[in-house]
């Protein structure tokens, strides 16, 4: 092996070793690197009541209830397999709404309801003009209507 090839092997060896070390470290700390738990992991009993963690998922359509005169809100969060009921008192981000993503910090109470102390909105990677979004929605509604009409 020429000295240059030796140096090349050394560089590749260093990259491989660091990558392996990083892989093992990140695997070992998998749960700490995860930014939030999804409802399936909550349903599996991975967190105990009173233990602080972040819960993430989609806000279920039709479950958002505000108590008039207060800042209390209740809603359900889903990962399309399991649902978790959430209570929160405070200001919600502008992007927070039914059918979109959210991440909440808090803990479970004895009944399995998630009591949130902070709620963040998580949006997806889709961008489009409002007009396009409206026409897509209208198209979807029309298709749904047509489907309903064909099955009396």
């Amino acid at each position: 092996m020429t000295p240059r090839q030796q140096r090349m092997t050394l560089v590749l060896g260093v990259v491989a070793a660091v990558a392996l070390a990083g892989f093992l470290a990140l695997r070992a700390f998998q749960n700490n690197v995860m930014f939030y738990f999804d409802p399936t992991r909550v349903a599996a009993g991975e967190v105990k009541p009173g233990q602080r963690f972040r819960l993430g998922g989609m806000v279920v359509k039709g479950t958002l209830v505000r108590t008039p005169g207060t800042m209390d809100v209740r809603f359900a969060v889903t990962d399309y397999r399991h649902e978790v009921a959430v209570s929160y008192t405070g200001v919600l981000p502008d992007l927070f709404k039914e059918g979109t993503g959210m991440v909440a910090d808090g803990q479970l109470d004895a009944s399995g309801r998630f009591i949130a102390t902070q709620v963040l909105a998580k949006h997806d990677e889709k961008y489009m003009p409002p007009a396009l979004s409206k026409s897509l929605e209208a198209g979807k509604a029309a298709a749904a209507e047509a489907a309903a009409g064909s099955q009396p």
Partner: protein, 254 residues
């Protein structure tokens, strides 16, 4: 000989001359694309159905984030070339990448924070994407600190090259952080395999900003590398001829 260009670039006078010839082209195309992309993105492109006008910070944030990792990869690859081929010019290029990459990383973090507050509801979270990008900033700062702490040029080059190469492992972690782990940050819209999740009216100015940023980075790296070569070769005899020539061309007197 196919590798002739590579060995030629290893010669400081040749690199100095070639880089000087490329600079105006790179710089001007970066400026034209950048101004067009910025006006198009910030003014002419349609607003977003969810985020309204606020999403426009994307036109600065996404290219900075891309360039923060691209510049790092360039820094690490040229450091490896410098190490393996004992090439002084490659070390000069590597050294030139660090402050530029650190600036891109800072801009990506700052614009991300400004964007995160109104949309997500927070300035900062210890999310995998955000944390790995912050680590990238520290890698750049560490590299710069290390370089200025070692006086002997050859030693500084070797030690810094090793740091740059070790840190390159962080680049795929930044990129895949949103897929490997649950994250507050959304998945990529453009920098991925498959169709961009964005209509052409928004995508075209964004791609222009990506191109402009990359050309700007190339301009800055070559400019700084030329300066670095001048500093390192200050005793070389070719230097007098090269600098004298450019003085004669611009008609300026020292």
């Amino acid at each position: 000989m196919t590798w002739l260009w590579f060995h030629k670039l290893a010669s400081p006078p040749h690199f100095y001359r070639i880089a000087g010839r490329w600079l105006p082209w790179l710089g001007w195309s970066a400026a034209v694309l950048g101004v067009t992309g910025l006006v198009w993105g910030l003014v002419l492109a349609p607003s977003d159905y969810q985020q309204g006008e606020g999403y426009r910070i994307l036109y600065v944030h996404a290219p900075s984030a891309w360039l923060s990792t691209f510049t790092y990869t360039t820094m690490a690859v040229s450091a490896a070339v410098g190490l393996v081929w004992r090439m002084n010019v490659a070390h000069s290029v590597s050294a030139s990448c660090a402050p530029l990459g650190a600036s891109f990383t800072f801009v990506a973090l700052a614009t991300g924070s400004l964007w995160g507050k109104p949309m997500w509801g927070t300035w900062w979270e210890w999310d995998p994407r955000l944390t790995s990008e912050l680590l990238l900033l520290f890698l750049y700062l560490g590299y710069m600190g290390l370089r200025s702490a070692i006086e002997d040029q050859t030693r500084a080059d070797r030690v810094c090259a090793l740091l740059a190469i070790v840190g390159v492992v962080n680049v795929p972690i930044i990129y895949y952080s949103v897929e490997w782990w649950n994250s507050l940050h959304q998945a990529p819209s453009v920098m991925k395999f498959g169709k961009p999740t964005m209509p052409a009216s928004m995508l075209v100015p964004l791609l222009m900003m990506f191109a402009a940023g990359t050309l700007f980075a190339a301009t800055m790296v070559l400019m700084r590398a030329r300066g670095e070569i001048l500093r390192r070769e200050r005793v070389g005899t070719w230097l007098e001829a090269a600098v004298g020539e450019s003085v004669a061309l611009t008609g300026e007197k020292r």
